[in-house]
Symmetry: C2
Subunit: 281 residues, 2 copies
């Protein structure tokens, strides 16, 4: 696999950084992840927007322009020819003389195999547990996954696939995904505060608005537990049904009709973009 580091396309095995860089010393770097389908980078402009927004908000100093990063991504897709895959973009704070103040950053772009949840996983749904926590600067996507990773053993213990953060019962997001529900009257609802604005979430809301009422507002744990359908969205999972929240079975425990319809519509949209080259509105 070919990777891009700073100014060079290199074999991935050769992509190394000094342990003195601030990403290793202080865990400080902007991050983003996009999906490649049929060798087409889905929603590339949106991901670039977010990546550069995160970098700017984190006071990082990208050496590459947005246009240059875009070219690197497109070139990497050509070089690796991995039609269905994912691309990670990381902009670090570089090598900081005092290990503290970010300077000109290292740009790391890696392509990798990506397996979306199987049809079986989609049909079965997953269990999610709740945990009281609020991410720092939630609208920024960084490499700071401290809490998500720290909670991994707890998830295993409780046989859960993921964790949903909340503060005093008001939910926000999962460490790497957004949360949405379908209420019993068929409205699609998702939190809008204290979250990372997921690209899949945004595209899904646009799709949903054509067929349903879609609302962004405060959502509580108990509303979710009483919803007809609950699911998460993310770049690496697209739409993944949640059939159990803590110990509460959602709806009848099976994947609901709205979730299934939205998933079908989303896949159709992806195909339309990536195969037919139709740029979405």
């Amino acid at each position: 696999m070919i990777a891009y580091l700073n100014s060079n396309f290199i074999e991935e095995e050769k992509a190394v950084l000094s342990v003195k860089y601030i990403a290793i010393q202080r865990g400080y770097a902007a991050f983003d992840y996009l999906r490649i389908k049929n060798n087409y980078p889905l929603f590339l402009e949106d991901y670039l927007d977010r990546f550069f927004n995160s970098a700017g908000f984190m006071h990082l100093h990208p050496v590459h322009s947005r246009e240059e990063v875009k070219k690197v991504v497109l070139e990497l897709i050509r070089k690796n020819n991995l039609p269905d895959s994912g691309i990670r973009m990381i902009l670090t704070g570089g090598y900081s003389p005092d290990h503290y103040e970010p300077v000109s950053g290292n740009l790391i772009i890696l392509q990798e195999k990506l397996q979306l949840p199987s049809h079986e996983t989609f049909s079965a749904g997953v269990k999610v547990i709740t945990h009281e926590y609020q991410r720092d600067l939630p609208h920024v996507k960084s490499i700071n996954y401290f809490m998500g990773i720290w909670l991994q053993p707890k998830l295993k213990e409780q046989n859960a696939a993921d964790v949903l953060y909340h503060r005093q019962g008001i939910v926000s997001e999962l460490p790497r995904a957004n949360i949405l529900m379908v209420t019993k009257d068929g409205t699609i609802v998702t939190p809008y505060e204290n979250i990372l604005s997921g690209i899949t979430r945004m595209k899904l809301l646009q799709l949903a608005a054509k067929n349903f009422i879609a609302e962004e507002r405060k959502v509580t744990i108990s509303e979710l537990k009483n919803a007809a359908e609950v699911f998460m969205t993310s770049t690496t999972k697209r739409i993944l049904p949640i059939n159990k929240l803590d110990d509460t079975v959602i709806g009848n425990g099976k994947v609901g009709p709205v979730t299934t319809l939205l998933n079908d519509l989303f896949i159709a949209m992806e195909d339309d973009i990536s195969i037919n080259g139709n740029i979405p509105e």
Copy 2:
């Protein structure tokens, strides 16, 4: 400079890690930092205790035993012969196949020059500003300095040397230091909750207890602003007087007698340990 990476002493320039490691991908690693004086590692056992406690609490899997890490530190001191310096210890989550679940970690140990605050800086004191924030898992020392680094431009804007975290007016700590005050009746007071238990703080409290009343309890911003003396403690700063908190001058704006005495006592203790080889009680 010689560094230690995984199982080898190597030239620092050769200490590199793949960009695929979880420290870079997810900012997940345990960290600690100790000071070398006269080629003697001050309070080494305390730092090793804390480093292994952090690693364990973070579910990291050290390949090296505590005794092995200790030997590496002592060997590094001999090899580099940098009598007054600092040593960084980092234990990463290794290369995680799913970029998420920590596996056997990389051990990184780096020695570096360390300049403690000069006599002039000590005498002048520094300005600190307050910021509402609580570190995640505060008793763990990790590479997660997201907020501390993110706030750097704000500090510069306000001509401040550092930032003090609080929640609703109850203070906890600075990103890399503890906070202590001397009240107008001469009691030494420091917060005890939601902080990293600093080694310098602990040693200072033990020293202080011989001459003063020392209390660990809740401390508010307004108490600090009304204190006779305020200072921070940290491994890299020892004791550093704070003469201004936000826009409030502390005491008469000059370094106080208790701070000066404690600093003298601390230096005497360091000398006693590092020159005379007297192990502290």
